[in-house]
C-alpha cells in the first residue's frame, strides 16, 4: 500500500518525507545521520572558502543518490539569494535550491516579500525552488503562482526547537495550497514531526533537533520513524476525538447484572 505514497517535488519522487539539514554536524557524522534518517534530500550552505583552516567538503560525506539542496543563507534580499543560487548550481550538484532570505539576526525570520521575488527569478532560470517562509497564506499562494516546487513555512524560529507554534496557520496552508507544504524550522522533537505529518503536511525538514541531540545518529532514526508514523496515520485516517469517554470494553454481559 505504501508503494505509491511518493512525494513529488520538481521531477523527483521521494520515498522519505524527512529532509535533513547538515548544519552544526561534523562531516564525520553525516553518513550515519543520513543513513539513519533515510532521507533523500539534504541541505547545505555556500560560504567563502577559508584558506587558513580549510575544511573538507561535506558533499564528500553524502552518499551518491542523495539530492543536494543548497540554501541561500547569508542572503539579505532577492538579489543576493539569486547570486548564491547561481553559484551553487555552478558546483554541478543539481538545480534544487532552498531560498532563505533573512535580515533579522535574532529570530532569523525570512523576508517573505524578497522570497517571492527570488522565487520568481529562479523558477524562470530553471531551478527547483523551495522557499522558506513565514506561514502566510497570501504569500504561499503567490509562491505557488510563481512556480515554487513546494512552500516551506516555519513552525518556530530556526534552531529554537520550539515545535509547531504556528500550527494554526500550517493547518490552513495544508488546506489551501496545492504544492507540497514542508515544515522547515522549529521542529525539535519526533512527536512534533509526527504531529505535522498527521495534519497532512507533506514533509518536514529537520536540522538542529538532530544535530544538537545527545546522539544525532540515533535521533535521526527516531525522526525517520516519527515522520513515517505521522504519514501513515494521516493515510490510515485518524480516529475522531470525543468530549466524553467511550468504553473500549463491551457494556453488556457484566457479572453483576441480574436479569431477572
Amino acid at each position: 500500500m505504501e508503494i505509491d505514497d511518493k512525494l513529488k517535488i520538481g521531477d523527483k519522487f521521494l520515498s522519505s518525507r524527512l529532509l535533513v539539514g547538515t548544519g552544526k554536524l561534523p562531516n564525520a557524522l553525516l553518513p550515519g545521520v543520513i543513513a539513519a534518517s533515510g532521507t533523500e534530500v539534504v541541505t547545505v550552505a555556500l560560504r567563502r572558502a577559508d584558506f587558513h583552516s580549510p575544511q573538507e567538503n561535506p558533499l564528500s560525506f553524502i552518499p551518491e543518490g542523495i539530492t543536494i539542496m543548497p540554501n541561500t543563507s547569508g542572503a539579505r534580499n532577492a538579489e543576493e539569494a539569486v547570486r548564491i543560487a547561481r553559484l551553487a548550481r555552478a558546483a554541478n550538484c543539481g538545480n534544487w535550491v532552498k531560498i532563505e532570505i533573512i535580515t533579522d539576526q535574532k529570530y532569523l525570520f525570512p523576508d517573505n516579500e524578497e522570497t517571492v521575488k527570488a522565487t520568481e527569478i529562479l523558477v524562470k532560470e530553471g531551478f527547483v525552488v523551495l522557499p522558506y517562509v513565514i506561514p502566510d497564506l497570501v504569500i504561499a499562494r503567490r509562491l505557488e503562482e510563481a512556480g515554487a516546487a513546494a512552500v516551506m513555512p516555519l513552525g518556530a524560529p530556526i534552531g529554537s526547537n520550539r515545535g509547531l507554534r504556528s500550527r494554526e496557520f500550517l493547518r490552513i496552508l495544508v488546506e489551501e495550497i496545492k504544492v507540497p507544504v514542508i515544515v522547515d524550522a522549529g521542529i525539535g522533537r519526533p512527536s512534533e514531526a509526527a504531529e505535522a505529518m498527521e495534519m497532512g503536511v507533506d514533509a518536514v525538514l529537520v536540522n538542529t533537533a538532530i544535530a544538537t541531540a545527545g546522539d544525532p545518529v540515533r535521533m535521526a532514526g527516531a525522526f525517520a520513524r516519527a515522520v513515517k508514523a505521522g504519514r501513515e496515520a494521516f493515510l490510515a485516517g485518524l480516529a475522531a476525538t470525543r468530549k466524553y469517554a467511550s468504553p473500549s470494553s463491551p457494556l453488556t454481559g457484566f457479572l453483576h447484572e441480574v436479569k431477572k
Binding site: 539539514g21 547538515t22 548544519g23 555556500l46 560560504r47 572558502a49 584558506f51 567538503n57 551553487a88 555552478a90
Partner: protein, 66 residues
C-alpha cells in the same frame, strides 16, 4: 597588482590566472566555485582568465547548512 579575494585585499602577480590563484591558495578545484568580477567562471575558464587590477574574486565552497 591588487585584487580582492573573498573580501580581502591581496597582491597578485602579473600574468597570474585564476587557476594559479587557486593553486597558490591551496584550494582543491573540485570543491569550489569561482566568481570573477560578478560572473561565474566555468572550470575551463580558470586557466584562461588572467587576474586584472582591482578584480573581485569570490571562491566559495559548500559547508554544512540547514
Amino acid at each position: 597588482m591588487e585584487i580582492y579575494v573573498n573580501g580581502e585585499k591581496e597582491t597578485a602577480n602579473p600574468g597570474e590566472t585564476v587557476q594559479d590563484l587557486l593553486v597558490r591558495k591551496g584550494v582543491s578545484g573540485e570543491t569550489v566555485v569561482v566568481e570573477y568580477n560578478g560572473k561565474i567562471l566555468d572550470r575551463e575558464e580558470w586557466e584562461k582568465q588572467f587576474l586584472e587590477e582591482e578584480a573581485i574574486v569570490e571562491i566559495v565552497r559548500f559547508v554544512g547548512g540547514g
